[in-house]
Amino acid sequence: MEGDIAQLGQFVGAGLAAIGSGAAAIGVGHVAGNFLAGALRNPSAAAGQTATLFIGIAFAEALGIFSFLVALLLMFAV
């Protein structure tokens, strides 16, 4: 019985942690959307900033990956 409650906590926690992946998706969308808005205003400057775009996406996505990792840890490692 005790183990079942612990398992319940694991699953609920993993599910909650997975919300962070969705939040990271919002962040990535913000980065890409704002880049596109800026690129459409000034297309000539866009090509030089793609590296910055990918760095921004990487930073935003890393935090989502952290939450995914927490979910994985709860599911499999705790």
Binding site: A51, I55, F59, A62, F66, L69
Partner: protein
Amino acid sequence: MGKIFFYAALALVLASGLILAPEEAKLAIHPMDQFQVSALFGGDISWYTPTNVTAWMAAAVAAVFALLVLGSSRRAIVPGRAQSVAELAYGFIYKMVEDVAGKDGVKFFPYIMTLFMFIVMANFLGLIPGSFTTTSHIAVTAVLAALVFVTVTVVGFVKNGVGFLGLFWVSSAPLALRPILAIIELISYFVRPVSHSIRLAGNVMAGHAVLKVFAGFAAALGMFSFLPIFAITAVYALEVLVAFIQAYVFTILTCVYLKDALHPSH
């Protein structure tokens, strides 16, 4: 023509689902089994045992060798296919190092090229069905990130001496804020290798796990298995993109950190 092929494939999938439907479809998903490290010839795993890690790293080394050495062996003025790709990779990374890290970062080019080629080859080899993805392991990416971290720190202190600590002292901020900012900068500096490594391993692991989960659905759904198979196709395409982008991101972040070490002034 493509449509006919598409419908034929669909019919085939449906028919095979009807015929080969498992007697008792069990939802048996083991998304993490694919990351299991196992000895090639049995026995315990000690630090020198040849494992599947060894095999797939050797494959990555062989792929790098095939592309960059065998591909360019003709030294043609007008390049063939393999030589074009090799030159493209060379130019891509060289330009990245030069643009991001600056002219004096160019002497680290072979080092950065090594990281990029290893990661991109390991990622792409990992996309072969049934293969083992070395970059999905935190042990591997942590070593890669730690190498970058140590290199950047050592280069920073050797190049700039104590001036490297100016990286943490934001001279453009108000004086009262500077100690607080210094603490934040210091923390972010030490978090760098963590995020650097977990970003790569997490992305690769997540993509492969998702593929495996969908594969488990496909096995369980019987005749409706074509739905997860389409999803797998889409996710696989995304993973091909991610495999390259994560290698690119790892490399360009290395260049950014290197720039901090070479020119620490804010």
